[in-house]
């Protein structure tokens, strides 16, 4: 994308005030999106985002400047701006580029070969399937997105890395209404693939039906009772519990500054002995995958927890300096307007040995969270929360009825120790994760698990 002489000039300019590391990040991405409401296309958009960021490190201090102008003059000015944070004199030279890392797109059918007619046909099929599910479906909103995200990273240690990450996703939201009440269901599969996702991985009509099923089921569900009970959480997006309750607290962003309940816990038991957890950015074609991270380091498979023992944190370059811990291929950012920091990729509980039916049969009274919504966590205290999209009340080990409006809350360190069952079949689901370096695509995943007790928030009485 850019001449090597310009790269060297920028990296060198950035080191002029005493920095010991400089980095140039360039981005060129194209996004197509279409929104369909009630079976009619409402908006169609194309966005091209191009820009560059220059980062300078000196020890654990960091300066970042970015610009939407990628001309040579603008890049030099950007390097000068970043360097102006330091007031010293030059101590290090930028090395000539000596490492080339090239990540090639996983897309078999690139989005440039797709026109709006193909995108719209898909959304129409998904919408129609949702509407056909039940007369109680009063509205369907479908959002289609495809993105070709290209990055170029160069640093003063002689590394050049390029990556090209296709992403494709459709979210279908169905609304069911009756008697002045409304309930919703959403299904939103996504992968790091090309348009071949439709067909290879995703049947759009199933997506529409799935969203409709949740909305209609919840419309006829009583309010979830409130209280502290056993909870069984199904696979897929259920893995948001690992994402929120634990792994945010393993990111260098919080651990590096001493602001996580998991500080100083490497080698210690932090979870029930049946728990194994992984963050794997290398899985081809997955939503959270990449070849190289946004600092140019190769993506890795990081075994976070083995038999309940904490094995590694998720660490970016700045974090590795703060923590004296090797980098883990976890440096990520939304785009050039953010400096990178430690983030997750595809994060999941590994398959366990427990029987899914036994889990239900022996749980007594509690909640089965079949579909989870989003959540959040305070890494300092580990206090997390997340919403249940589709829940069922369990009585005497049998599913009694669907329940609406449930939220799960707790403290990560406590809930990890209370996981008493992990099933055999693991699958993942995509989400967008927000943190210091913006909103990035991450997968969460797990097999069906059971937690011996957790606070369930709802507004219903006993069932």
């Amino acid at each position: 994308m850019i001449k090597s002489s310009i790269v060297n000039a920028v990296l060198d300019e950035a080191l002029k005030t005493g920095g010991d590391f400089s980095e140039l990040y360039l981005q060129d991405s194209e996004v197509n999106s279409v929104r369909m409401i009630d079976g009619k296309v409402e908006d169609a958009n194309y966005q091209r985002k191009v820009g560059a960021g220059v980062r300078v490190l000196k020890g654990t201090r960091s300066a970042y400047a970015y610009t939407a102008d990628t001309s040579e003059a603008a890049l030099i000015a950007c390097a000068k701006a970043a360097a102006s944070a330091l007031k010293g004199t030059k101590e290090f030279e930028a090395k000539k580029i000596c490492v080339d890392r090239i990540g090639r797109s996983w897309a078999k059918i690139p989005f440039s070969e797709i026109d709006n007619a193909k995108r719209i046909a898909l959304m129409r099929a998904g919408t129609n399937a949702a509407k056909a599910y039940s007369d109680e479906i009063t509205q369907v909103v479908a959002n289609y997105m495809d993105c070709d995200h290209r990055t170029w990273i160069y640093n003063s240690e002689g590394v050049h890395a390029e990556d090209r990450r296709p992403r494709v996703r459709t979210a279908i939201q169905a609304v069911a209404m009756a008697n002045g009440e409304a309930q919703t269901g959403i299904c939103s599969p996504g992968y790091g693939m090309g348009f071949e996702m439709y067909g290879e991985k995703v049947n759009i009509e199933d997506v529409g039906r799935e969203a409709a099923k949740t909305a209609v089921t919840m419309l006829h569900a009583p309010e979830c009772p409130a209280g502290k009970v056993p909870v069984m959480i199904d696979g897929g997006f259920g893995g948001v519990i690992l994402h929120e309750a634990c792994v945010h607290g393993l990111e260098a962003t919080s651990v590096g500054r001493g602001n996580s309940v998991f500080c100083g816990k490497l080698g210690q038991q932090i979870a029930s002995p049946i728990v194994n957890a992984v963050d794997d950015g290398t899985l081809p074609g997955e939503w959270g995958s990449m070849h190289f991270d946004d600092e140019g380091n190769p993506a890795q498979c990081n075994r976070l927890i083995e038999n309940g023992i904490l094995k590694t944190y998720l660490v970016d370059i700045l974090g590795s300096r703060l923590m004296n811990h090797p980098v883990t291929g976890s440096g990520r950012r939304q785009n050039y307007t953010f400096a990178p920091t430690s983030r997750m990729t595809n994060t999941f509980f590994a398959p366990g040995k427990d029987d899914e039916e036994e889990m239900l049969r022996t749980m007594g009274d509690g909640l089965f969270a079949a579909k989870m919504g989003g959540g959040s966590v305070n890494p300092l205290t580990g206090e997390f929360n997340f919403a249940v999209g589709e829940g069922y009340w369990v009585k005497d080990g049998k599913i009694l009825c669907p329940v609406r409006g449930a939220t799960l809350i707790g403290k990560g360190a406590e809930v990890l120790m209370k996981i008493d069952r992990i099933g055999k079949n693991m699958w993942m689901a995509p989400g967008m994760c927000g943190s210091l370096s913006g909103s990035i695509p991450t997968n969460v995943g797990q097999p069906r698990i059971r937690v011996s007790e957790i606070v369930v928030g709802g507004k219903g009485g006993a069932l």
Partner: protein
């Protein structure tokens, strides 16, 4: 590369040549500075320069969008926009604003923006120093930053619209971490605008909010009377504000459909959308429509939805100047200006006395997940204090509060005199503290 004006004019010319009826650009640029300090050192320093041009064309009655941050190749951008317009199946008319006059607005001067980088860095360092010195239990900073900048917006089109604004912003963020025994707590506080240089109140507020979290425990599950503090109430209102958008009402995505003229809230509730509010005034919205004040709810009765040009035309009313954008590159949508529940007469202490027995809720989290503006339902993790006979007994955490927004609005007994606004910009939400007769709490 072309200049912005050359690129814009080329887009207009090409769009008209290719058969578009109208073309409009929504262009944004900003120049920002941000510094974050820890342990008397700069740990993050950022210079931020954004620019982008969002082209909207009207082609055979339909609108299409295309956005770019590189001002080259106008042909491709226009082709993308026309291609996207051809995809539209919704048959509603798509009006654009023509040439017009704008109301005079008075923007308070903000000298913080003009401070030198050194002075801004010194301000952040002083904030950290004074926070650490304020209370022995302040152990370290989770966050301490100063951000300033200038953001410009330009909207023009082939109908003669020409709207320009320049916003000078500044804000400080503080998050001290307090330690007492083995327990640690953190609380984020923000201060916007020129008052941020006078940061003592910011320090006091963040430390008081962190101290309130110590030695907390859950309460028994059940129904409670609730005093929702102004900042937490504002967060909740923010999550449900889209129920008032005509766009959502027309699409069957709001339970307020068909409720105009009906009582949807307690008589204590009046909701206004005021683009002229003194701390965050604007002359026009994201379509260049001149600002107007809108009464949304008056003494509990729903008076108006929030409209942009397209949704207003569909309902046969005038736009309420509530066009928004989903980001610089996004389509026209709806956004409040300064959207707030009008203040009442009671002080917070008077509301606490009126609460009698119940919970004060000071913080809600997980708002992006635990509330649903289509169903109106919410179930959110909360922190606060247990109140008995009008007096605070202890701090409370690890609970959820749950309800339905519309039911809750009917059960508001009183609003406080302590109206408080959230962060500025489009969609600035304000709320006083709210005394609510009943919500369900889940805890022990």
């Amino acid at each position: 590369m072309m200049t912005f004006e050359q690129f814009r004019d080329a887009c207009f010319r090409l769009a008209l040549e290719k058969g578009c009826e109208n073309a409009e650009v929504y262009a944004t640029s900003s120049d920002g500075f941000s510094v974050n300090v820890l342990n008397a050192e700069i740990i993050k320093y950022a210079i931020e320069r954004d620019k982008g041009l969002n082209l909207r064309v009207l082609y055979e009655g339909k609108t299409g969008y295309a956005y770019t941050e590189v001002f080259e190749d106008p042909e491709t951008l226009v082709a993308h926009a026309i291609d996207n317009a051809k995809a539209i199946e919704n048959t509603d008319a798509n009006p654009m604003q023509g040439a017009c006059e704008y109301p005079e607005i008075t923007v308070k001067p903000n000298p913080v923006v003009d401070l030198s980088e050194e002075e801004k860095i010194d301000l952040a360092l002083a904030m950290e120093r004074d926070t650490l010195a304020y209370d022995a239990r302040v152990n370290r900073m989770g966050y301490c930053s100063v951000d300033t900048g200038v953001a410009e917006t330009h909207i023009s089109n082939t109908l003669g619209l020409n709207a320009n604004s320049k916003e000078r912003y500044s804000y400080a963020v503080l998050a001290p971490i307090l330690r007492d025994g083995e327990e640690e707590h953190e609380s984020y506080s923000f201060k916007f605008g020129p008052e941020m240089t006078n940061y003592d109140s910011l320090i006091r507020e963040s430390i008081e909010n962190a101290l309130m979290q110590f030695h907390a425990s859950a309460v028994d599950s059940g129904e409670y009377r609730i005093l929702l503090r102004n900042d937490a109430a504002g967060d909740l209102l923010s999550g449900f504000s889209s129920m008032f958008f005509a766009e959502h009402v027309q699409k069957g995505l709001s339970l307020l459909s068909g409720k105009l003229g009906e009582r949807i809230a307690s008589p204590a509730i009046t909701i206004l959308d005021d683009p002229f509010e003194a701390d965050n005034p604007r002359a026009f919205d994201a379509e260049g429509v001149p600002s107007v004040l809108t009464t949304v709810v008056e003494n509990g009765v729903l008076k108006s939805y929030l409209y942009n040009l397209k949704t207003a035309l569909k309902d046969g009313v005038a736009s309420t100047s509530n066009a928004g954008r989903m980001g610089a590159g996004g389509a026209v949508t709806t956004a409040p200006s300064n959207f707030y529940i009008a203040k009442g007469e009671k002080s917070f202490d008077e509301l606490k006395a009126a609460l009698g027995n119940g919970l004060i809720i000071t913080e809600l989290s997980g708002l992006h997940a635990g509330l649903n503006p289509i169903s109106g339902d919410f179930s959110l993790i909360a922190k606060g204090q247990l109140v008995e006979n009008g007096g605070i007994v202890r701090s409370v955490d690890q609970i959820t509060i749950a309800g339905n927004f519309l039911t809750m609005m009917q059960s508001i007994e009183a609003t406080g005199a302590d109206l408080r606004f959230g962060p500025p910009g489009a969609g600035r939400i304000g709320c006083p503290s709210l005394l609510i007769s009943k919500l369900v709490v889940s805890g022990k």
